[in-house]
């Protein structure tokens, strides 16, 4: 079927470019660990607080790292005219955006999840919980990328749009960060942790509905 081939082609390209192009996946992952380290330095003498604060630091850091990667989603393709050519392909715009989000999540999701688990270790979280934390961060990264796509699409085509994207993503990221931090706080409970099911729910909802909102916004950016 045309559409599934086209979908996979977009996913593959986005993942490949996220992984390899312009610093690749190392950039957001490095940034993530950097933030966690900075906060740890900032805590100074109060370092014994680190494990308690770790959930908040991990999710704030994840949000910032995803935010950093969002401008790859649409800006470069809009400038290079690729979005217009996508429009002339068998894939409808919202599926194309879903594919892009999938590709980007594949490209940066795993590195961020691993970097987050490593940061959790640095911040003194127990080693047994790190696996669940990585899973939660991975799910969260998918949610954040989907929701961030809305903000990126709304600000697409604007010069110096990063500030606007940051402001727009703030209310969109808040629920993900809240649920995620709650889940990570009780990571030893795995999926029974409070917030974990909400995190999953918001991820699924975002994955389904965010592309539609983003495609409406992107269509406007084309005109």
């Amino acid at each position: 079927m045309n559409q599934s081939h086209a979908f996979m082609a977009v996913v593959e390209r986005e993942a490949r470019l996220a992984w390899a192009g312009g610093g690749g996946a190392a950039l957001p992952a490095g940034f993530y660990i950097g933030i966690a380290t900075l906060v740890a330095f900032g805590l100074g003498a109060a370092l014994d607080l680190a494990p308690k604060l770790a959930p908040a630091i991990l999710w704030a850091g994840l949000s910032l790292s995803v935010l950093l990667s969002l401008d790859r989603l649409f800006e470069a393709d809009l400038e290079s005219g690729a979005i217009e050519i996508f429009h002339l392909s068998p894939l409808p715009l919202d599926l194309m955006i879903t594919a892009k989000i999938t590709g980007l999540s594949l490209g940066i999701g795993a590195p961020l999840a691993i970097a987050g688990a490593a940061a959790g270790l640095l911040l003194g979280l127990p080693a047994e919980t790190l696996f669940w934390i990585a899973i939660e961060l991975l799910i969260g990264a998918i949610a954040l990328t989907s929701l961030g796509a809305i903000a990126a699409a709304l600000a697409a085509g604007l010069r110096r749009s990063s500030l606007l994207v940051a402001l727009l993503t703030l209310p969109l990221f808040a629920p993900v960060a809240i649920f995620g931090a709650a889940a990570t706080g009780s990571a030893h409970l795995g999926f029974a942790a409070p917030g974990a099911s909400l995190l999953l729910a918001i991820t699924i909802l975002a994955a389904i509905f965010a592309p539609k909102a983003a495609s409406a916004a992107l269509r406007m950016a084309l005109e």
Partner: protein
């Protein structure tokens, strides 16, 4: 010098008048300003149309409206295919080349063409054939950011060869090309017309297409 690979020809190379591009009372605006008002024309297989006018008059907007990338303020564009059906959406039956290469600066020529071929469900060899025909073999693994403007233009034109589509919308196809490049572009256009396609070229420079009808856009009106 190897023989260039031929463009994949349409199965039925006889001119079939059922293929028709019709434009009725098209009015387009950009940034709130009306650029084109009440334009009507129709195009049959083998025809070429030159859209002429100074910069900023609306040539690109017209092409994009024909492709369905922008919603016109008024009027309608319809594409009737060879078997008499109405193509909706019509974008998949059109190739569009604009000033940009349609690939991100870190993508190579080969990667970009393979991606579009995969996305459109074209034969996998189509990308290699296109590279060969557009004499991009030596630059094929170079990233877009390191290409000359002629090579970028040839990359856009190479997309035309990936899949057989009846309508070509070319925005300033000759810009940046040297004499050999222009000859190549001219040959492509001639072949597309000879195999029953329709080519619409926007240019502010005489493109010397044989027996082309002309649409001349002037600021504030259309002739």
């Amino acid at each position: 010098m190897n023989d260039p690979a031929p463009i994949p020809v349409a199965k039925d190379a006889k001119t079939n008048n059922a293929l028709r591009l019709e434009v009725r009372s098209l009015s387009c605006a950009r940034g709130g300003r009306a650029l084109i008002t009440g334009l009507s024309f129709s195009a049959k297989p083998g025809e070429a149309i030159e859209v002429r006018g100074p910069n900023g008059v609306g040539k690109t907007t017209l092409l994009r409206a024909l492709a369905g990338l922008v919603r016109p303020v008024a009027g309608a564009v319809s594409l009737h295919l060879k078997d008499g059906t109405l193509a909706a959406p019509r974008g998949q039956h059109m190739h569009f080349t604009g000033p940009e290469p349609g690939a991100r600066s870190e993508e190579t020529i080969r990667q970009s063409l393979r991606h579009w071929a995969a996305m459109w469900g074209a034969r996998p060899e189509a990308a290699e054939d296109a590279i060969h025909r557009m004499t991009l073999t030596r630059a094929a693994d170079r990233a877009v950011r390191r290409l000359s403007s002629g090579e970028r233009r040839r990359l856009s034109l190479a997309r035309l060869l990936l899949q057989d589509r009846p309508i070509w919308l070319l925005d300033e196809p000759n810009s940046g090309l040297d004499a050999a490049g222009r000859a190549l572009c001219h040959a492509l256009i001639t072949e597309r017309r000879a195999t029953g396609g329709i080519v619409i070229v926007a240019t502010h420079d005489p493109a010397n297409l044989d027996a082309a009808s002309m649409i001349r856009l002037t600021p504030g009106a259309v002739a």
